[in-house]
């Protein structure tokens, strides 16, 4: 199991790892398992400003297409280019190589992000 003590989760199954003013975003292991084989990601370009809780992209598996929501606000500094050709990294390593975006000037409006225990409780229920 990955060490998720630094990760915070949304109820819509994204995770964020905040490191100073930088934040990394992806989706949870539970979400990738529910989606199954990830085929395609629609992600914003570097420089795009994200608002916390707003839609920032979409993820498609053979089963379904789902919108992605930003756990925190910020400016996109880097998009995981590996996902263009290997979107299945989201399935195989959702908390590592399957990361989606790195944000600068991350702003956490706090409040409703869940820690690992809270998220586990949410999806386990």
């Amino acid at each position: 199991m990955a060490d998720l003590s630094n990760y915070r989760f949304t109820a819509s199954h994204e995770w964020v790892r905040i490191d100073g003013s930088s934040a990394t975003i992806g989706i949870s292991d539970h979400a990738q398992a529910q989606l199954g084989d990830v085929i395609f990601l629609e992600l914003p370009a570097a420089g795009t400003e994200l608002k916390a809780r707003a839609k920032f992209g979409a993820i498609e598996s053979v089963k379904a297409a789902s919108d992605l929501y930003a756990p925190v606000g910020g400016v996109v500094a880097e998009v995981n280019a590996a996902l263009t050709d290997r979107p299945e990294l989201v399935n195989s390593d959702p908390y590592g190589e399957g990361w989606m975006l790195r944000l600068d000037s991350a702003t956490d409006d706090g409040g409703d992000l869940l820690d690992e225990a809270g998220y586990t409780k949410l999806v386990g229920a």
């Binding site: 084989d37 085929i39 395609f40 089963k63 297409a65 299945e88």
Partner: protein, 344 residues
């Protein structure tokens, strides 16, 4: 697990991709016991089945099978079916989701004494893929490897009485095994055990859908329904107007088979975004049809779909698909998307 036609069905056992590739390169095992079976018998069995389906059932010899559709009086498709000629009549295989409707329809157009809904007693397992024939042959005392496509014979598989049919819904070679429902769990286990070393894995509804779509095979409820005539979904080849009277024939005679109300096409998309059932097909921003089925092709590594276009759209029209607000260019390609290599 998902609910499908009254059955709890696994969408996947491992992953759709893994199961799909297993069937294309080795073999896969499917539990298709949800499929319905109706048996027609008696002196008038041929006449009744002939009136129900558009294809020519009279040409079947015992052990032979054919694909066709049942039409309503307006020429719309009630269901797509496979008909087997048996010693004492015909077995019609129907879609699980259509079972109540089909059985009622059959009752309206025959007498109850002529047919029996045996769907609860019959289970269906399919073994599909390049290694399927060798695997089933190794468990069968009779020569089933020489069965031609769309032919079946009664035999045993791993000691279980089975009707062994050279048919499938994946585009690969293989068999469908009709067995007594009580025997199905034991046969499933035997096939898994014998097939495991050959790379056989269990496959769910998800891979069944991606495989059938690559093979250009239709799915009732998505690619056609009660309002779709056979010509409009590319199934004109199952309509045998010369065979005599059948339900829907007068309506179908009003249509021009080469210019039906709708045109069914295969399309390839640029990129990986998946076109899905119900999304709009566009030409210069105007809606000209809908996507009927779409998926990502694991064999071809791009997105594929089938679409139903307005009948008067010229063949060389430039098309695109509105995928959740993003317009993706679509190229019309011949069906099927995938054809298994010769000799494989």
């Amino acid at each position: 697990m998902v609910e499908f036609g009254g059955f709890d069905m696994p969408l996947q056992y491992s992953t759709i991709r893994e199961e799909h590739i297993a069937v294309r390169t080795r073999c896969g095992l499917f539990d298709l016991s949800h499929m319905g079976e109706v048996r027609f018998s008696g002196d008038r069995a041929l006449d009744v089945v002939q009136s129900l389906v558009t294809n020519d059932v009279a040409r079947l010899e015992v052990g032979g099978a054919l694909y066709g559709v049942m039409c309503n009086e307006a020429g719309g498709i009630v269901d797509d079916v496979v008909v087997y000629r048996e010693d004492a009549g015909y077995m019609v295989v129907i879609n699980a989701a259509c079972r109540p409707k089909d059985v009622a329809w059959m009752g309206e157009h025959s007498a109850d004494s002529m047919f029996e809904d045996i769907g609860d007693e019959v289970a269906l397992l399919a073994v599909q893929g390049p290694r399927a024939v060798a695997l089933v042959s190794s468990l069968c005392p009779d020569d089933v490897a020489s069965l031609r496509p769309f032919h079946s014979k009664d035999s045993t598989v791993a000691g279980v009485q089975a009707s062994v049919s050279r048919t499938g819904y994946t585009g690969e070679d293989g068999f469908e095994l009709y067995v007594d429902a009580a025997d199905a769990p034991a046969l499933w286990d035997s096939l898994l055990e014998a097939g495991g070393p050959e790379g056989l894995i269990p496959c769910g509804l998800g891979a069944r859908d991606t495989l059938r779509l690559e093979a250009g095979l239709r799915l009732y409820g998505q690619d056609m329904d009660d309002t779709t005539d056979p010509y409009s979904c590319g199934l004109g080849w199952t309509v045998k107007l010369q065979k005599g009277e059948f339900i829907g024939k007068p309506a179908l005679l009003q249509l021009d088979p080469s210019h039906p109300p709708r045109r069914f096409v295969g399309i390839e998309l640029e990129g990986r975004a998946i076109a899905r059932h119900g999304q709009q097909m566009l030409t210069a921003g105007e809606a000209v049809g809908v996507v009927t089925s779409g998926t990502y092709s694991f064999t071809l590594d791009h997105s594929i779909a089938t679409a139903s276009l307005d009948g008067d759209i010229p063949a060389d029209t430039e098309l695109s698909v509105d995928i959740r607000g993003t317009v993706a260019a679509a190229t019309v390609v011949p069906l099927p998307f995938y054809r298994r290599p010769k000799g494989a």
